[in-house]
């Protein structure tokens, strides 16, 4: 059907880097390391952490080399051509004549996320060596971290949906293990369960969506591309081919997006993410800021054509993804204002930033959203690790900003500096990385006709600046309070809120649980005052802060097209591609070449039909997306909004927290309306109540009650009836069969055996030679009988 001659097709086949071809090795390294740590970790000098760090360094090296080779290939591609992703697949298993494959699908998107995951994982593992030093499940912690990275990497490089689900579920399992790392405390294990069940709720959507896609797409992909309906490349092409019915693709897109809502903490399933801060801080930094929660965003970006067509992104100013993203930005940012726990502020900030990514994807700003994944990973990981550094060295494992922090900028200069840099990057202040990605999202959302959501994005930027200023003020400025003021530890014991007992309390309520044991030695001789953390903690902070400054320049749109490297390297070409050469691009295990596929039409603003109409002589793999042109007037507006947010929040913080201004402090207690709003926020919009008290009770309790009634009435009736009839039968059997027949037989055979025994007793003389004679005699008689019978 695509046999028509396409003019201007120039194929350039080029040999191609080893690391890029063999990127499938990357997830295998940490997977192997996981088993090694589990089996041998405890016997090693560093309790298995060295294996985890080594495997992470290896994956970082492999993925960086693969990324470099990809960039090299893109840079040397002839003008006007598009890069085909490096796809390899092998048969995983075969059933019913159908091959399930496993393989790799390497392109700009997967390499970007892969490098981010490897990089953050490496730093977090190094950081954990000190942070969890002396923890009781130290080895298992590193094993779970390593397996988590393996799962994420497997998901990122997956060439088909089943492999993606495999990685997705490994991550779900590992997040459960890591959030509940200190499970002795009931709150932690509850948080772990909540995270697991909430994301599982969404995962149902993933299974449904994948199945729908498979059954809808398989015929087309088998016929046209020779790949199954699970193949990501195949499904992407199918979605833009004009073949799918609008109902099927819409159902698939909505179902898949539900999975992304669960995993990426979008409204209304965001409630698990802040609770998941119960895990150790490195876990929060790795899982819940920069990698795992990005999985949902990654899935949308990966299967973008499905969402593009299914939710009609281009043709409207309103769709499911953009609405959910917009709501998430606002509600999460609002919740961040009422948190006293520094990690919860960061958690809601993460939820809100994920909202930006989703909103960007929903409004057709694919590249800015992916770029925001990239930049956000660095500064958010840095913020979390800085929070961990504070609790580790200054506030005695407390995360309460109001009780145990304040004035820390003098004591922790490195932590303070890195925090400020990352905060500015998160707020989107000009030369830092957040500006280039977040501003691009807002700009492109407006450019693509989603004006309302552009306004929401700007309001979100204002709120982000304000709540981060509040958190910064409470933590680093003002007067030191509680533990940070050097208050003795035991003073806190009266208050229920304290971090656990120093010496032996198993049920510590706060973060550093097992880590306590090691801190006793610190605290025994050192003063209780705050101090800077050790180099294993500060060096990752410095590296991340440097990237928070610099990462944005990879796609610095304000400086002109020459700076838009991310666009060049990562964005898939939205051009119609002829079907010749596809075989090579989809080559099997032996394929070691890359095929540049010349696009049919010149790429430019909406000159390609991809994503808008059915391609005629070829296939589209990605919608053609136009980019907003950067204007300093728009940039200045959003910067002004950010600075306004900071100033307002600073003024309010000084007035409320330091001067205790009568007019402002305690306003929520005096004014009923504000008070109601405050408690509405403190109770997280009552969503937890809704889920646990209403929905779970409404659904689970009647089922439980019905099951109980069924159990009592029906099952018990059956069981009791059976029991009674069995009892009657058995009484009859006892009297007649058992007593008479069976006992008679048993007694009779007993008597017979006794008689035979006493008759044969003389033979048992105890003389071995007699036994031998009997044996041979019997054998001889047997042989004789045999001979007689056979002749």
């Amino acid at each position: 059907m695509f046999g028509a001659e396409v003019s201007g097709v120039a194929e350039v086949v080029q040999a191609y880097g080893w690391f890029l071809e063999n990127a499938w090795i990357i997830p295998i390294i940490p997977a192997v390391a996981f088993f090694l740590i589990i089996f041998f970790g405890k016997k090693l000098p560093m309790k298995g952490s060295e294996l985890g760090i080594l495997s992470m360094l290896a994956t970082l090296f492999f993925s960086a080399m693969a990324g470099w080779q990809w960039i090299d290939a893109v840079n040397s591609a002839p003008a006007g051509s598009a890069m085909a992703p490096v796809i390899k697949s092998w048969t995983w298993w075969t059933t019913g004549g159908f091959d399930f494959t496993i393989g790799q699908h390497m392109d700009g998107l997967s390499l970007t996320v892969l490098i981010v995951v490897a990089f953050i994982s490496t730093l977090v593992q190094i950081y954990s060596v000190e942070y969890l030093h002396g923890d009781r499940r130290y080895t298992h912690f590193f094993a779970a971290l390593t397996l988590f990275s393996a799962g994420m990497m497997n998901m990122v490089i997956a060439d088909n949906m089943l492999q993606l689900i495999l990685g997705w579920e490994i991550m779900g399992l590992c997040s459960f293990m890591l959030i509940g790392h200190w499970w002795e405390d009931g709150a932690n294990s509850r948080a772990a369960l909540k995270a697991f069940f909430t994301t599982r709720t969404g995962d149902v959507g993933l299974l449904v969506g994948t199945s729908v896609l498979f059954f809808a797409a398989n015929d087309w992909t088998q016929k046209t591309l020779g790949v199954s309906g699970f193949s990501i490349r195949g499904v992407s092409a199918w979605a833009l081919s004009g073949d799918p019915s609008s109902a099927a693709i819409t159902v698939a897109a909505v179902a898949l997006f539900i999975a992304c809502i669960g995993k990426s903490g979008q409204f209304p399933l965001h409630t698990w993410l802040p609770d998941a801060m119960a895990g150790p801080t490195p876990v929060s930094s790795l899982l819940h800021s920069s990698t795992m929660v990005v999985a949902g965003v990654f899935l949308v970006a990966r299967l973008y054509p499905v969402f593009w067509e299914g939710l009609n992104i281009t043709g409207s100013s309103f769709n499911l993804i953009v609405v959910i993203g917009g709501i998430t930005i606002l509600i999460a940012a609002a919740l961040a204002f009422v948190q006293n726990d520094i990690k919860k502020v960061l958690a809601y900030s993460t939820v809100s930033q994920l909202g930006y990514m989703m909103m960007g994807l929903g409004a057709g700003a694919w590249l800015p959203a992916v770029f925001h994944i990239f930049t956000h990973a660095f500064f958010k990981a840095c913020l979390f690790l800085a929070a961990g550094s504070i609790s580790h060295s200054a506030s005695h494992h407390s995360f309460d900003m109001k009780k145990d922090m304040g004035g820390l900028r003098k004591f922790m200069p490195i932590t303070f500096t890195t925090w400020i840099i990352s905060t500015l990057a998160l707020c989107g202040v000009f030369p830092l990385s957040g500006f280039f990605s977040k501003d691009e999202i807002i700009d492109n959302v407006g450019h693509n006709g989603y004006t309302l959501f552009m306004v929401i994005g700007l309001i979100g930027a204002f709120m982000t600046a304000a709540y981060m200023t509040r958190a910064t003020y409470l933590t680093f400025f003002g007067t030191p309070r509680g533990a940070s003021a050097g208050e003795h530890h035991d003073d806190d014991h009266a208050t229920d809120h304290a971090h656990g007992d120093h010496a032996h309390d198993v049920h510590a309520t706060h973060d550093a649980h097992g880590a306590h044991d090691s801190h006793d030695s610190h605290d025994a001789h050192a003063s209780h005052g705050p101090r800077e953390s050790g180099p294993l903690i500060t060096i990752p902070l410095i590296i991340l802060a440097t990237l928070a400054i610099g990462a944005g320049f990879l796609n610095a749109t304000p400086f002109g097209a020459g700076w838009e490297n991310m666009k060049k390297w990562v964005e898939p070409s939205g051009a119609v591609i002829s079907t010749t050469g596809i075989e090579e691009a989809h080559g099997g295990a032996g394929a070691s070449r890359i095929v540049y596929l010349s696009p049919q039409a010149e790429e430019g603003a909406y000159s390609s039909p991809c994503g808008k109409e059915t391609p005629k002589d070829g296939i589209c793999y990605a919608p053609s997306i136009s980019h907003a042109k950067f204007k300093w007037s728009k940039g200045a507006l959003s910067l002004a909004i950010v600075f306004a947010g900071m100033l307002v929040s600073w003024f309010m913080s000084v007035q409320v927290f330091e001067r205790k201004n009568r007019a402002l402090a305690g306003l929520t207690k005096r004014n009923k309306l504000l008070g109601a709003g405050h408690s509405f926020l403190v109770n997280k919009y009552y969503l937890d109540h809704l889920y646990e008290k209403v929905i779970v009770r409404a659904i689970a309790h009647p089922i439980a009650r019905g099951a109980y009634r069924f159990n009592q009435k029906v099952l018990d009736g059956i069981v009791n009836g059976t029991g009674i009839s069995v009892r009657n039968t058995s009484r009859w059997v006892y009297r007649n069969v058992d007593q008479k027949v069976v006992d008679g037989a048993v007694n009779g055979s007993g008597a017979a055996a006794q008689g035979a025994g006493s008759a044969l007793r003389p033979i048992q003389s105890g003389k071995v030679s007699q036994y031998g004679a009997l044996l041979f005699g019997a054998a001889a008689i047997g042989a004789l009988v045999l001979v007689i019978i056979n002749t």
């Binding site: 048992q764 003389s765 105890g766 003389k767 071995v768 030679s769 031998g772 041979f776």
Partner: protein, 99 residues
């Protein structure tokens, strides 16, 4: 083929072995007689293997030799224990197995 001669040799050995097992009082001699029986079997196995031109009999014979070695090991250990307990290995004095 000298099959009959081999079988005859085997039968003689077997009978000597059986005679030794039944009549000898010394436990070591009984063990040696059992070895004779086993070797008689080996001769039979190999004789038939040669006749049939098959390697199975040889393999069986090798197995028998290996098992005979194990059996002698166990037997001698038992004899040694008996000797330690009773200062004698005369079998007719052992009547503890009397039922």
């Amino acid at each position: 083929m000298l099959l009959n001669q081999f079988l005859f040799l085997g039968a003689v050995l077997f009978c000597i072995g059986v005679y030794g097992v039944i009549t000898r009082r010394n436990a070591v001699m009984v063990l040696m007689s059992i070895e004779l029986i086993l070797n008689a079997v080996n001769i039979n196995l190999i004789a038939f293997a040669l006749r049939n031109g098959s390697v199975d009999g040889h393999v069986f014979a090798l197995y028998v030799i290996a098992i005979a070695a194990a059996e002698v090991g166990v037997g001698l250990a038992m004899v040694l224990l008996v000797y330690r307990n009773r200062r004698s290995i005369a079998l007719d004095e052992l009547a503890e197995m009397k039922g």
